[in-house]
Amino acid sequence: MKITQGTFSFLPDLTDAEIGMQINYALKQGWAIGVEYTDDPHPRNFYWEMWGNPMFDLRDAAGVMVEVLACRKAHSKLYVRVNAFDSTLGFESTRLSFIVNRPKDEPGFLLRRTEVSGRQIQYTTESYATRAPEGRRYE
């Protein structure tokens, strides 16, 4: 399967040049940019690991690409995403978030159904990848 989180997951993987253009767009809006990675892509895993703090006051995508490439090199088998943060009053949140690296093989999720009272079912989603201990996933 292919996890379709993020703004551009239905498109072919973005090239570095295309990633740069999206970053330039975000910088032009005055947004700060952070790079994050994870080995647990559960849809409700909101806190991926931060590859350093979000970068403020940058002018050009080349500066961000330094970190994107470094993170991708260090975690080539994991999910890596680029987040853009807007500090404007009334937003103060993420404004753009897209995946820039993903494992070759994505095992996806198990949907566990627990039958409770009557016809009701309780659903739990579990990443197959997290069955292996941390550090040994997607190997």
Binding site: Q5, E18, P43, T94, L111
Partner: protein, 479 residues
């Protein structure tokens, strides 16, 4: 000024003389202000008509009553303070009326509207009356909860950023069994939509009870979520005959783990406020279908403009509201729609007569409401939709998803690919307004579902003139 002895003599007296007209009045920051379009009966002076509206929507009755003198009546009287002819439409006037804050109960749309659109709309000296816009003072706004969730928190909960959200209404809206209904939901979500939606009139009918619908829909939502790794949702319509029944349905939706429920505008303002409070308390996104609004929002001469309804709904506390598409099958002049979208999404809405916004409106930190564009739109219009409606909007392609020749999943994929392609192109600095069709055609080269969608609906437009248009610019609905 009239002497008290003369003012309160029994009998009938013009409203303007009774103190409901004051050309020198400067509205206070705490006043509620309304702008009405009035069409007086032949021979009725527009100023007297405006004063009558002020009177009938506040303290007055048709004759003088001495009991006024037991009150601080000058304080309570609404004041018409300005009357302008409507440009280009003889016989119609915009009248501005200020209402003292003490006239209203806190946190009650019902109370606010009982005054402002109460008896006065049937008042005989007027041929027609329309509430065009209102300025709600910050002091009053602060007594309302506002959207249960709001755009920012909704996006964070869904973990979806940088693009409009995608939805679809299950079709046919009536007649499917619960099991078949859930199939449509699963296919559309797995194919790439973020949300699927019940229609306004699907509640609990002979062909499908509400519990069945909820159970099958949540199976579909969870299955699609596991298949894609994304958070998905289905607006479970909890609309019912009583608020108690609605609470029961909402509780069940929560137990099943739904992130969103839905209500219809026809349940009434107080029920909407109740459900909004429930939604805030239970971490639920609250979707509002504006069923019924067309009966009073569409005609320019009489009724309540939708931007006012949108304001009331933001105060009442809904998170999603159907707000027009510009390009689809339902009423929607581009300027008027822009005005309505501003009301939903601004932190501060600037006066903009071209968009029908008559007042500055400080939203006092009230959360933002996500507009929903639904009705006769398809993937081929993606560039226009993004250009007109922006990013914080739910685009709902019902027929455009379910009617896809290659199936529902393919229909959903076509829409999602069109959307992501267009957002990417816009961010790259491309002129999507002009290059949009080419950008879509290029994406269709590698995405067969998009190709099929573009071929199927390439010529579909709804090119009719809008009835609710702004009075300050000549406009036409684009194709």
């Amino acid at each position: 000024m009239v002497k008290p002895a003369d003012r309160y003599k029994s009998g009938v007296m013009p409203y303007a003389k009774m103190g409901y007209w004051d050309a020198d009045y400067v509205p206070k920051d705490t006043d509620v202000i309304a702008c009405f379009r009035i069409t007086p009966q032949d021979g009725v002076d527009p100023i007297e008509a405006a004063a009558a509206v002020a009177g009938e929507s506040s303290t007055a009755t048709w004759t003088v009553v001495w009991t006024d003198r037991l009150t601080a009546c000058d304080h309570y009287r609404a004041k018409a303070y300005r009357v302008d002819p409507v440009p280009g439409i003889p016989g119609q006037y915009f009248s501005y009326i200020a209402y003292e804050l003490d006239l209203f109960e806190e946190d009650s749309i019902a109370n606010l509207t009982a005054s402002i659109i109460g008896n006065v709309f049937g008042f005989k000296p007027l041929k027609a009356l329309r509430l065009e816009d209102m300025r709600i003072p910050v002091a009053y706004l602060k007594t309302f909860q506002g959207p249960a969730t709001g755009i920012v928190v909704e996006r964070e909960r869904l973990d979806k950023f940088g693009r409009p959200l995608l939805g679809a209404t299950t079709k046919p809206k009536l007649g499917l069994s619960g099991k078949n209904y859930g199939r449509v939901v699963y296919e559309a979500l797995k194919g790439g939509l973020d949300f699927v939606k019940d229609d306004e009139n699907i509640n609990s009918q002979p062909f499908m009870g509400w519990r069945d619908r909820f159970l099958y829909c949540m199976e579909a939502v969870n299955k699609a979520s596991a298949a894609t790794g994304e958070i998905k949702g289905h607006y479970l319509n909890v609309t019912a005959g009583t608020v108690e029944n609605m609470y029961e349905r909402a509780e069940f939706a929560k137990q099943l783990g739904s992130c969103i429920i839905m209500i219809d505008l026809v349940i009434g303002y107080s029920s909407i406020q109740s459900m909004a409070k429930w939604a805030r308390k239970n971490d639920m996104i609250l979707h509002l279908h504006r069923a019924g609004h067309g009966t009073y929002t569409r005609q320019k001469s009489h009724g309540v403009s939708f931007r006012v309804i949108a304001k009331w709904m933001r105060m009442a506390g809904v998170d999603h509201i159907h707000a027009g598409t510009v390009v689809g099958k339902l009423e929607g002049d581009p300027n008027v729609i822009k005005g309505i979208y501003s009301v939903c999404r601004d932190s501060f809405t600037k006066k903009n007569l071209e968009q029908g916004i008559f007042f500055d409106q400080d939203w006092a930190g009230l959360r933002k409401m996500m507009p929903v564009a639904s009705g006769g739109i398809h993937a081929g219009q993606m560039h226009q939709l993004i250009e007109y409606l922006g990013e914080d909007v739910v685009l709902q392609f019902g027929g455009g998803t379910i009617g896809h020749p290659m199936g529902i999943q393919a229909g959903a994929t076509a829409n999602r690919v069109a959307l992501e392609t267009m957002v990417k192109a816009r961010n790259e600095g491309k002129d999507i307004w002009n290059e949009g069709p080419q950008i879509l055609a290029d994406a269709a080269k590698w995405c067969a579902p998009l190709r099929a969608a573009l071929d199927t609906w390439k010529d579909v437009t709804f090119n009719y003139e809008s009835t609710d248009t702004a009075d300050f610019v000549p406009t036409a609905t684009p194709a």
